[in-house]
């Protein structure tokens, strides 16, 4: 029996590559906000993979919580792993920040993951939960213009991982903190090719491709990392250790 992974943001650029990679060895529950995109993804997975679709918008946390509960009660099959890829990024200088921005960013990036883990570790809704990987960001321990809200929401994930690692042991929770990966959501920043060149020079190993997180995620949900919990792994081509910037 293959382990099952619940993946949020499965139809994002990173999500699609991760889902395809994980479909080789796992069954998947694919969360998306779009059933069309989710269906396209299902059709591209490894044929051995049993995949189900779960549609929800994290901006409505109450509905998400209710839908997840109903889903788990109906499914009655164990979910052993949770990978949180959903994230919303927008440049927001403090002077242009509105309350609705705060609510949106934290709901999608942070609160949804907390609610999901809460349900998945509850014996009322699920059994056999083993591990979770939350996609944070390499910005979570640093500063940049217009990024306070996003960075805070990701830093919160790092903290959630540390704390739940203690509270939920032997269930393991870790985060991955990626650097710049070219994806749909970052195209708005990267569309200027002069800007791309300038940014690329700051990365000792260049900007990232969407498949670059597959290895570390696989590792962190496998038994090979069974003594690793509460950690945040920076996977960013060396950007944040580069003082030449």
């Amino acid at each position: 029996m293959r382990d099952r992974i619940f993946i949020t943001g499965s139809t994002s650029t990173i999500g699609r590559e991760l889902s395809k990679h994980l479909s080789i060895n796992y069954d998947l529950i694919l969360h998306s906000t779009s059933s069309e995109k989710a269906q396209v993804l299902v059709d591209s997975l490894n044929p051995e993979c049993n995949a189900i679709i779960f549609i929800s918008n994290f901006q409505d946390l109450e509905s998400f919580e209710e839908n997840l509960i109903q889903f788990l009660l109906k499914e009655k099959k164990p979910v052993q792993h949770f990978i949180h890829i959903s994230g919303f990024f927008e440049l927001r200088p403090l002077r242009l920040l509105k309350q609705k921005d705060i609510t949106k960013v934290f709901s999608i990036n942070t609160f949804s993951a907390i609610i999901a883990i809460q349900k998945l570790v509850s014996k009322k809704y699920n059994v056999g939960f083993k591990s979770s990987v939350l996609i944070s960001s390499h910005i979570s321990c640093f500063g940049a213009f217009g990024t306070s809200l996003y960075a805070a929401s990701k830093s919160a994930l790092d903290s959630v991982a540390k704390n739940l690692a203690v509270e939920l042991a032997p269930i393991r929770i870790n985060t991955i903190n990626p650097g710049g990966i070219r994806s749909n959501s970052t195209e708005e920043i990267y569309q200027n090719s002069d800007l791309i060149d300038r940014i690329e020079k700051l990365y000792p190993l260049g900007l990232g491709a969407p498949t670059y997180l597959n290895g570390i995620v696989s590792f962190l949900i496998s038994d090979e990392s069974s003594w690793i919990t509460g950690q945040s792994y920076t996977v960013d081509g060396g950007r944040t250790i580069n003082l030449n910037s």
Partner: protein
């Protein structure tokens, strides 16, 4: 006045850190007029009008009025 223009003017007051703004004000006279202000203005146009300004468009403006004229009402 158009609601979105009002919203843009409010954003400009925030970005330039002033309580009042006049169309004839010269941009270089504002203490806060720097590259971060320019980026914030680009973000504000995107928010209010779904319009993508370039840095050059913003830096070619000399007054608040020039900025307001960049708005594509279409």
């Amino acid at each position: 006045m158009n609601d979105r223009i009002k919203s843009l003017i409010e954003d400009l007051k925030e970005i330039l850190d002033v309580s009042e703004i006049n169309e004839t004000d010269k941009l270089e006279d504002f203490d806060n007029w720097d590259s971060l202000a320019i980026l914030s203005i680009i973000i504000s146009f995107d928010d209010n009008f779904d319009q993508t300004l370039t840095r050059d468009q913003v830096t070619s403006c000399t007054s608040i009025n020039d900025l307001l004229n960049l708005v594509n009402e279409g």
